[in-house]
């Protein structure tokens, strides 16, 4: 019985490992044992479940941030003028 418990323990990631696995899962497929271990851990750990939700939210936020016009940074006027001049001379 002890051996079985030890084997299950070896399969189960701790929180540090679980959050790394959740991050990796966004970038690569997990192995079957990694995936199983993670799902088991998440069944019992609300903190790691929250962590997973949060980093998935970051993906959405990162994309929205890119497209959000309110974050638009104006090109400095000098830069704008330099580019216009460069385009003009290229046209001529």
């Amino acid at each position: 019985m002890n051996r079985l418990i030890k084997a299950i323990r070896a399969l189960l990631p701790n929180c540090k490992q679980a959050i790394r696995l959740q991050s990796d899962a966004l970038d690569r497929p997990l192995s079957t044992s990694q995936w199983l271990g993670l799902r088991l851990h998440l069944a019992f750990c609300k903190w790691c479940v929250r962590y997973g939700e949060h980093i998935k939210f970051l993906q959405i936020a990162a994309q929205c941030h890119e497209h959000d016009h309110r974050q638009e940074q104006a090109m400095p006027p000098e830069a704008r003028e330099r580019i216009k001049r460069a385009l003009k001379s290229r046209k001529d």
Binding site: D24, D27, E66
Partner: protein
């Protein structure tokens, strides 16, 4: 947006109807800010960003493109800009490594139990908090100010890989080929970047709601 004042050296044949964008200078007015912001996010240097934007417009002119102010044109220009930026990454990584394994290397170890049977578990009071209605934050301008500040705190290489993965959607293989880094180093940087960004948002926004 302000139009340029000086029209005197434009050929008379270029008739000025409201949507006639045959003058490349108008493209700069119309698309310049958007392209600049895109380049600045990735290159972090305003001079490099300006160069990249200029080269983008020049490449567009060379391609004989005529513009009508349609929204697809913006994304076509971004496509050119993106490739120029990727070329810049490829060139750069030959001299300097794109790996940063120092940032956030402790991975918040002070928030985890260190010994005993519970080693590696969150210390309950220090673990991730509930973020109430986090989706709604996306509509809040002050959230975006906070997000912008937090994202800005990521060091250059970590920010770059984060953007390539989460915004540009490049796969692991593509990023590693582009930046000449190993898969594991990429995943470590992404993990630490996400950890740091999550922590920053929790401390400065969600934890204060």
């Amino acid at each position: 947006m302000k139009r340029t004042e000086d029209d005197s050296n434009l050929p008379r044949a270029a008739a000025k109807t409201p949507r006639d964008l045959s003058d490349p200078e108008q493209w700069v007015d119309l698309y310049g800010n958007f392209l600049f912001k895109y380049a600045l996010t990735r290159l972090r240097d305003p001079n490099k960003a300006e160069d990249a934007v200029q080269e983008t417009f020049l490449a567009a002119i060379k391609g004989g493109k005529s513009f009508r102010g349609r929204s697809e044109e913006k994304y076509w220009l971004v496509g050119i800009l993106k490739n120029k930026i990727y070329d810049d990454f490829r060139r750069r990584n030959r001299e300097t490594s794109f790996t940063d394994l120092e940032f956030y290397s402790d991975e918040e170890s002070d928030r985890f139990v260190t010994d005993g049977s519970g080693a590696g578990s969150w210390i309950h009071k220090l673990g991730p908090e509930v973020w109430p209605n986090y989706g709604e934050s996306l509509d809040n301008e002050r959230f975006w100010k906070t997000y912008h500040d937090c994202a800005g705190r990521l060091p250059e290489k970590v920010a770059t890989v984060f953007n390539l993965r989460e915004v540009d959607g490049l796969e692991t293989k593509e990023i590693c080929a582009l930046l000449n880094i190993s898969e594991n180093n990429l995943w470590v940087m992404l993990h630490r970047g996400r950890m740091a960004l999550r922590r920053c948002l929790e401390t400065n926004w969600f934890g204060k709601l």
